[in-house]
Symmetry: C2
Subunit: 140 residues, 2 copies
DNA sequence: TTTGGTGCAAAACCTTTGCATTCCT
DNA sequence: AGGAATGCAAAGGTTTTGCACCAAA
């Protein structure tokens, strides 16, 4: 794991664990608290303070993305080389479906251009109810 | 102001003040704290607790929209009859430019359909630097 | 050895809530 | 009068920070 060394951070066990846990979470977005619990369950002792500090460093370095949905806490995900994506978020079960749409991206670029606005980032979140929850609601 | 009566809420001075302040804010999105300060400056005594309670009621009734950007606090705006809109948010000066794009809306509907997802709401925020800030940065 | 990282506990924020009081209707 | 709304202060949840200790380079 010389990723850490490459970005100028010391290779500590805590940072390795946090990165590994983010990797394991795959496409799921996790809160700091969730990371904390997961690590604790794996008998890894990493304090919440460290988790926040490390996530913040990784975010500044562009390795992690911080996402804010409708509630008042932040979600984090590894910002791998994978393409940018947006979210369909189910308000019933909390499932998050990722998607990417070329047309939408293109329109965003045009709109920014019209306003002479330089885009550094963007987030599109669509809220509602996923297929499963809809079916359940219909049968109740 | 029989709006309040119409929606089944008692017409109190606090609620009138909050609504008026939201109206005055026009297209700006304000935090609960900002509302609080504005009202205090106008010699209106409304407690933060009441502001949160009223905003929450108005949101449930669909009169107010709650927005979450990149920081960990919520912004509120009057949800007038005006069309839904998205945001260009300047990370330098904080300016928020609203826009609406039919193509993007259409694509969102299609994407939801593909996933058998029922949309209740969505938010698209584009972050970056506005024209003014760009110019300033360039000349420095 | 030196610099940076960590844990703990405390503090800082934003938001919600319990309760006594006050206000609409 | 009676139910609803408010203010205050306290509590809740998330995130940040100061400081003493510890670890990587």
């Amino acid at each position: 794991m010389d990723l850490l060394k490459n970005i100028g951070l010391k290779t500590t066990n805590q940072r390795k664990q946090i990165l590994q846990t983010l990797k394991n979470a795959a496409n799921k977005h996790v809160t700091a608290e969730e990371l904390f619990v997961t690590l604790k369950n794996n008998a890894q002792n990493v304090s919440l303070a460290t988790i926040y500090r490390v996530l913040s460093q990784l975010e500044k370095l562009g390795l992690v993305k911080k996402l804010n949905f409708e509630n008042n806490c932040s979600y984090f995900e590894l910002n791998t080389a994978k393409k940018h994506h947006d979210h369909l978020i189910c308000n019933s079960c909390g499932e998050i479906i990722e998607f990417f749409d070329k047309k939408i991206e293109e329109r965003q670029t045009s709109i920014a251009l019209e306003h002479k606005f330089i885009i550094t980032d963007h987030s599109l979140n669509i809220f509602g109810h996923c297929y499963k929850c809809n079916k359940e609601m219909a049968t109740k």
